[in-house]
């Protein structure tokens, strides 16, 4: 599963870790995050994330 990086602040979403601050379980792919999920560090939406190569 790919990691995705926030274009604004550099936070990296790692599907292996999830996002406990928003109740996202480890193992959740980026694509499956809810549409209203936001960057836990700076608050921008999924549309401002880029896939890490």
């Amino acid at each position: 599963m790919e990691k995705w990086e926030c274009d604004v602040c550099g936070y990296v979403y790692d599907p292996a870790v999830g996002d406990s601050s928003a109740g996202i379980a480890p193992g959740t792919p980026f694509e499956d995050l809810p549409d209203d999920w936001v960057c836990p560090d700076c608050g921008v939406g999924k549309d401002q994330f880029s896939k890490l190569e």
Partner: protein, 397 residues
């Protein structure tokens, strides 16, 4: 005021804003004014670290001119785009058009949007160095402390950290250093600054403190972009940030309320009595009379926040809204919450306050307390008991 020397040939050349009373528009009351700190390093190359808020550009340039001719500035380090620090950049560039601007990638984007200047940008990242001659600058990116572009500059040979907004305080003073100003006042303002600006980034603050420790760099002085420079005891502010970001607490409670005809006020006072009877330092704030930034600051120490409102139009009084909105954005770390209020024929305030507290990340410490119309003697006693029960929750840990 003349330039003030921090280290050999490193000078404070910023400005003191004695009159600033609101920061970030109307959102942050700065009742002790502020300073915009910029620093001039005179070496084989001459570097300016950050500038000042535009109305103070002349004041800064006058100070720089007392040390060197500003046209001799070779490098300008912009740690942060916000205009209280970058605002005088166009004025400096007029005098030193050949100067190179060192900043993070996001700061370059931000500066271009702010000033449209076709300047010579040198983008830097963590670990990059800029040799000036006898001294070398190194850079540490610090995204979201407190903007995506934020960066720290470190002068290696002097163990001097220039972390921009981090470790700052809105405090105007005729003096520049921590050993010249009452320590209690500095810490009050540092706390107020942390609570109202950095609170939501506490997780990143802890990571950054770990990163600094792991780098193993000595820090003999911390020169932030606002307020007093930490030279006697830089460890004091690092330790305070660790405490605040970790959510450490004291047996203290903050009771915030407003009232229509006095019923919720009477409940609030009884709740404070109950908390105090268990040894909790309970502090009462009628929100419409008080400074919201001051209440938020109390939460840096208080374990418990109790919020009260009567029900009007099936919810809480709008007087509570600015406080509750601020709280939701600032997300205090590791805090308990509870709600209370009086009502007439329908309820709603307590439930809606509880939802707001939870959205702000607080853990509800117990069921809300609602009393119809006017509390009688027995109901006031149940308010005291409710306060005592909350006090025990605090001590439970």
């Amino acid at each position: 005021m003349d330039p003030v020397q921090l280290k050999d040939k490193i000078y404070w050349v910023g400005a003191v804003d004695w009159d600033m009373r609101y920061f970030h528009g109307p959102t942050f009351s700065t009742h002790r004014g502020t300073t915009y700190n910029s620093y001039l390093i005179v070496d084989e190359k001459i570097a300016l670290v950050d500038t000042v808020y535009p109305p103070f550009a002349g004041e800064m340039l006058k100070r720089i001119k007392k040390v060197i001719d500003p046209s001799r500035i070779d490098c300008i380090i912009i740690n942060h785009v916000e205009i209280d620090h970058s605002g005088a950049l166009p004025e400096v560039m007029k005098l030193a058009p050949g100067a190179k601007i060192y900043c993070s990638p996001r700061a370059r984007e931000g500066l271009r949007k702010h000033f449209q200047g076709e300047w010579d940008y040198r983008v830097v990242k963590t670990g990059d160095e800029l040799p000036l001659g006898r001294r070398t600058l190194s850079f540490i990116e610090a995204p979201m402390l407190h903007w995506p572009d934020s960066m720290f500059t470190y002068v290696k040979e002097e163990a001097l950290l220039m972390p921009n907004d981090a470790f700052g305080q809105h405090l105007a003073s005729a003096f520049r250093f921590d050993d010249q100003v009452d320590n209690k006042m500095i810490m009050e303002e540092a706390a107020r600054y942390y609570a109202n600006i950095l609170y939501p980034f506490s997780g990143l603050v802890l990571k950054k403190l770990e990163e600094l420790a792991a780098l193993g760099i000595p820090i003999s002085m911390i020169a932030p972009s606002h307020g007093i420079i930490w030279r006697k005891n830089p460890g004091q502010i690092i330790e305070a940030y660790r405490r605040w970001a970790s959510g450490d607490w004291l047996p203290k409670a903050v009771v915030v309320y407003d009232t229509m005809w006095g019923s919720t006020a009477a409940m609030a006072r009884a709740i404070v009595e109950g908390l105090a009877s268990e040894g909790v330092d309970a502090r009462l704030f009628k929100v419409s009379l008080r400074d919201i930034n001051g209440i938020i600051t109390e939460l840096l120490e208080a374990r418990l926040l109790v919020v009260g409102s009567p029900t009007i139009n099936r919810s809480y009084l709008s007087a509570l809204s600015p406080f509750l909105d601020d709280l939701a954005g600032l997300k205090p770390v590791n805090r308990l919450g509870a709600a209370f209020g009086s009502y007439g024929w329908s309820r709603g305030a307590v439930k809606d306050i509880e939802a707001k507290l939870e959205a702000a990340g607080l853990t509800l410490a117990g069921e809300g307390l609602e009393i119809a119309w006017v509390p009688d003697a027995g109901e006031l006693e149940s308010c005291r008991q409710w306060g005592r029960a909350l006090a025990r929750k605090i001590k439970e840990k």
